[in-house]
Amino acid sequence: MGLTDFLVRAAARRPSVLLVTMPGGTPVRLAAERELRCRGWAEASTPAGADLLLVAGPDCPALRSGPDRLWDDMSRPRVRLRAETAEAVAPVLDEGRARLGETERGPYGAVDPRGHGGPPMAGPGEDRDGLTLDRLHLSLGPFLADWPAGLVVRVVLQGDVIRRARLGEPYETGPADPFWSRPWIRASAGEPVPVAEAARRRAAAHLDSLGRLSAVAGWPAEAVAARRLRDDLLEGAPADAVLPRTMRLARRVGRSRSLYRLTWGIGPLTAADAHAAGVSGPAARAGGDVPARYRQWLSDTLDDMRRLDDTTTLLDPVAEESPRGRWDTQRPPSAALAGLLPRLLEGTELAAARLVVASLDPDPDEPAVRRQEVARG
């Protein structure tokens, strides 16, 4: 065995994975995140740092070029994988590692990414202080790390301040199936759903959002803690196994003075404004800035965890909020949340903008339900 073979095989032992979630791929993403965490494989943020490209979720013709471009950006040795269902994730990752260890190798020419033209040239324009500064047109999403899969916000950047923001057109997707709101959709259709199941799903949804917010806030240790709790909940862990850990998480994150000082005043949304915009969930009840919203998630999660044993009561989809607000197929709560983004993002610095999006965490799979209904109607 030559030295190169040895090095390639050694490097393949713990590959880092670029996880790309397609719209509707939430359950596959959850399985992949859990699998990567248990295996201790790194989750890459960019193609430059990745060995494996894992496309998670159903095929979406409108978005096919996205993973292709990311793939072109990756340097060899590299392996492209696809998992359409949660069950497929573990075997697909095993296969990926095996193929990475025996992938075709050198001498390579240099990889030449962005054969697609590169970013557009920046042009000058007036900034918020009236100085002339280059304006850069940039799309946030649909495949940014720790970003709602499929959401696109087109921004005009000056330095790292967002001057203008607008929502991109939602993508035409296959059959929409918003994972987090499933119990509410089933209950609306007349199926009996125990309240315990809905509470479990809602608590897991808040922990998922909290994990994303912690990651965006640059606190990976707490992101891992929140996601671990989320995975345990979805696997059916009993309340007494998760409640004490969640209380500790709520103490560390909810009462963290540093996180509060770093996020207060960002993305202010009064309860009145939220109601006027049609927002009804935790964001409306919090009625405040980023810390108000993550604290609301934490207290809602704790409340839900105390109801995990209530298997007798049935879910009333009108009285009980879905994770992001009152469920209404015609006006899913995430549509209203996403609608708030342009207004809240304009004038913010990029890091603050990411915090705003993460603290509202709209689920792009929800509005897809409405489009489907409209198409059918």
């Binding site: 090095l7 390639v8 943020s45 960019t46 340097s75 390579y108 240099a110 030449d112 603050a352 915090l355």
Partner: protein
């Protein structure tokens, strides 16, 4: 007495630095493994070292309109400056170069990383990378002046810029004890110029790893190694500046230096997981309104004590 300039110190100093850096990476990985519910094994915690074979077999990557010369220069500067900074750091009774302006040398090497990271962010011609580059400049504006005054506090106490003089001037009473604020600011500065943990803002996940985002292969390895080398160098520098160097009862001087460096390194690695990223737009205010005036007051303490007799 301190021996300076022995020939064998030249290879040993970088090797020791590398050893401390690997120890810090392994410690961080062990804490991460425990937090994620994985089993902690001696081999498992060394898996970040697989980045070395990965870097060696990776295909080179070219970006359109990238500034390859400056990019490469920036990437190389970070680890090289970290290694050069160790020339003046005594370990036990040995030091590579006992410069009369050792503190200034260390500070100058650390400031080189400003240029290095800015160029590393500028080079690839990518928006997030560039944002990462100027995030480091903003962070530098926040941490650098308090750090300089912290270094000056120790130098004022010993009335010398020679690092071995500072270590020798602490006669049983460590500067960490009567200049605790300068010590804390130094440790904060170490995290900041290593851009790790709460100061990982220039390589934040919210901008897809920022300055690290577009690097691959050996470039990526150098930049990531540079962070941990700087953490190790900063921890090693804290020992002669604030913890009495190799002085201590019973053990030989090198053993005391080893123990103290590992303890400081352990403290820094523990802190990495405890705080969210300190965004410069918020941190600058704290740094200039609270840390900087307090650091100046801290310099006054040894200055007045020295004037006294």
């Amino acid at each position: 007495m301190v021996d300076a300039g022995k020939w064998w110190t030249l290879p040993v100093a970088p090797a020791l630095l590398l050893g401390f850096a690997v120890l810090a990476v392994a410690g961080k990985t062990a804490l991460d493994d425990r937090g994620a519910g994985r089993s902690v094994t001696p081999v498992g915690v060394l898996r970040p070292l697989l980045a070395v074979p990965r870097a060696l077999v990776a295909q080179p990557r070219r970006l359109p309109a990238s500034d390859r010369l400056l990019w490469r220069l920036g990437v190389v500067t970070v680890p090289v400056a970290a290694v050069l900074s160790t020339l003046v750091i005594p370990f036990g009774n040995h030091v590579v170069a006992d410069l009369s302006v050792g503190v200034v040398w260390f500070n100058a090497m650390e400031v080189l990383t400003w240029a290095g990271l800015w160029l590393a962010g500028w080079g690839p011609n990518a928006a997030f990378s560039l944002v990462g580059g100027y995030r480091f400049l903003a962070q530098g504006l926040a941490y650098e002046l308090p750090l300089m005054f912290a270094l000056i506090s120790a130098a004022t106490g010993a009335q010398s810029l020679r690092v071995t003089d500072i270590a020798g001037a602490q006669h049983g009473l460590w500067y960490a004890v009567w200049m605790p604020f300068a010590f804390a600011v130094h440790l904060t500065g170490v995290l900041a110029f290593s851009f790790l943990g709460p100061f990982a803002y220039p390589a934040g996940r919210d901008i897809a790893d920022g300055v690290l985002g577009e690097t691959s292969g050996v470039d990526r390895l150098l930049l990531r190694a540079g962070r941990w080398l700087w953490l190790a160098a900063g921890a090693a520098m804290a020992v002669p500046l604030f913890l009495g160097g190799g002085a201590g009862p019973g053990l030989p001087a090198w053993a005391w230096s080893l123990v103290k460096t590992v303890l400081v390194l352990g403290l820094l690695v523990w802190v990495l997981r405890r705080l969210p990223a300190l965004r410069a737009d918020r941190y600058v205010e704290l740094a200039w309104v609270v840390l900087l005036p307090a650091a100046i007051v801290q310099v006054l303490v040894p200055a007045l004590v020295d004037l006294g007799p």
